[in-house]
Symmetry: C2
Subunit: 345 residues, 2 copies
């Protein structure tokens, strides 16, 4: 399934992009004056192969899993919160529920590795790879087979839509994401590790030491996503990477969220570099590793609002801007239609 | 009318702000993890005096006027475009129309000084102070009486609502705004002058020279808004300042747009410093004077999208973020309600 998905990812459609840019240049505004909204409209045209792209059908995916490395005491919250928050997503009370309702996005909650048994629920996709990863300070987080299974869980979760957001929940997952990013971009752990949900100085020092120790132990090949994921990954990180690949294969723009989602984008990009033009970076968080991780992918975030919640909240928050880009290219009048004089020679 | 409006502007409600912050701290997310959205919710609570603020009733004001200084050849577009774009606003084809529809904001178009005669239209407020300003390179742009009349036109245009955006259209108005900002913050014209709708190097050099010449001629008192407005202002800049003051007097949050709107905010703040906490800076544009002007007011923009269109487009684009802040504090579940464990000791 993974190989078949990778094979379907192609380049953006340059003809549709040029047509979108031509139309933007005829609309009643100085050329280029809508800035990044114009670039977004052109990107969406290239992805969808439509000069007038549409993003009406929207979905937000939240992949949820537990992390064995929490045994090292790297988080401010107990592991039980992962399953409790999953229940909160299903009850509609979390931040992502509020923002998905506002953005008219269907919320898809996927259990890819919560430790606790989750009750059946019509809104929950159950694609558990295992009951949490192993503690990667001592042993690889998962087998290579489980890394593939996590990615394929993300691919299988993806449904046809016109705009997708990818987010996560998993106590301990900033530790896993920081380890992946440190290894992938060749940065020391202290440069890309942050305070996650809000840890104190003692836990912060321990978190960095844990990552350093794990990276020294596993010596994963940073060019090999499966090696990285197996060593220090999380099931939800693999699944997010899979969902991104599935979106690109279906020619759907996929909005990434915070630091953990961006770590997953790096994993996806090393499975297939062609996925990157399908990604939209929604925001840059307060996690110190987020900015270098985005820069590594060549992505510039749309928002900078000091968010650090995850769940896909930043991604869905940016849907309004993406929607605006689409509406402008569809609905604005041209200079001719409005009988407005063009620029002086 | 101006004095009466200024007298009604009071400080934010600290009790409502503290209540909003307390509620945010009980919601199912790490404290502070919604970043600037939390600060927005608290600000809205302080403005409206309601711990659970609402922004359902929204309006976007576009003030339109012409500028005598266009005779110096400082713009890429002919003056006629001001009236033509006003007609485009009334026909629904401009960028602000599209974005106001998306944001469910009522669009209020106000002629405060277009040179051409505008036909009557149910959506057009006619509050023309004069047919364009005079060319401020040779003579003050307007009399002190007209400066007051422009501000009062903005005050009179304001209607009760829960969230207001203030924007403008007027060929030549980046020249006026740059002159105001240069004088107000004590910066040389070359530091705060940009390429507006997209002028070439020759026009750009002329634009800076025009501003330098005007500032040397008028020597306006930068602490006196009426002196600044009369010397180098525009009717729409005065009207925007008036609308901001009226919003603050009515305890309504008012979202400022680009460089010209921010110049108006400086004018308003020098009539009444207490207006500033009622302002929300929507975005920072590519005009080089915008960032220092915002910093001068102590405002941090929500968006940085290389916009340079005006009309209130950036302001209305940010409504989705402000809406999100309101929805989150209203709709999210608390830790108790969702039975989610709180942070470890």
């Amino acid at each position: 399934m993974l190989a078949e998905t990778l094979a379907r990812i192609g380049p953006l459609d340059r003809v549709a992009m040029a047509a979108a840019q031509s139309r933007l240049d005829t609309l009643t505004k100085p050329r280029g004056s809508l800035g990044r909204l114009e670039a977004l409209a052109v990107q969406l045209a290239g992805i969808s192969r439509r000069p007038l792209p549409s993003v009406e059908k929207r979905a937000a995916y939240v992949f949820v899993a537990d992390h064995g490395v929490t045994a090292e005491g790297v988080s401010a919250y107990p592991s039980e919160v992962t399953g409790q928050m999953l229940a909160n997503f299903l009850a509609g009370g979390a931040a992502i529920n509020v923002l998905a309702r506002q953005a008219r996005a269907k919320l898809v909650v996927v259990d890819v590795g919560v430790s606790a048994e989750m009750p059946e629920h019509p809104q929950l996709l159950s694609r558990k790879v295992a009951r949490g990863t192993r503690n990667f300070v001592y042993t690889p987080a998962m087998t290579r087979e489980h890394a593939v299974a996590a990615i394929e869980a993300g691919i299988a979760s993806f449904e046809p839509c016109q705009l997708a957001a990818v987010g996560e929940m998993g106590i301990g997952n900033t530790t896993s994401a920081a380890a992946i990013v440190a290894a992938a971009i060749g940065a020391p752990a202290c440069d890309v590790t942050g305070r996650g949900t809000g840890i104190d100085d003692a836990i912060f020092a321990r978190k960095i030491a844990v990552i350093d120790k794990a990276l020294a132990l596993h010596r994963a090949d940073p060019s090999d996503s499966l090696s990285l994921l197996s060593a220090v990954g999380g099931f939800e990180i693999g699944a997010m990477a899979g969902a991104m690949l599935a979106a690109a294969a279906a020619r759907v723009p996929v909005v990434i969220d915070g630091f953990i989602s961006t770590a997953a984008a790096i994993v996806a990009s090393r499975l297939c570099a062609d996925v990157v033009p399908y990604l939209i970076a929604s925001h840059v968080s307060t996690e110190p590793g987020h900015r270098p991780a985005l820069a590594h992918l060549g992505l510039r975030p749309l928002l900078d609002l000091d968010l650090r919640l995850g769940e896909g909240t930043g991604a869905v928050l940016s849907f309004g801007l993406i929607d605006a880009a689409c509406r402008l290219i569809h609905e604005m009048a041209t200079f001719d239609e409005a009988r407005v004089a063009e620029k002086l020679r």
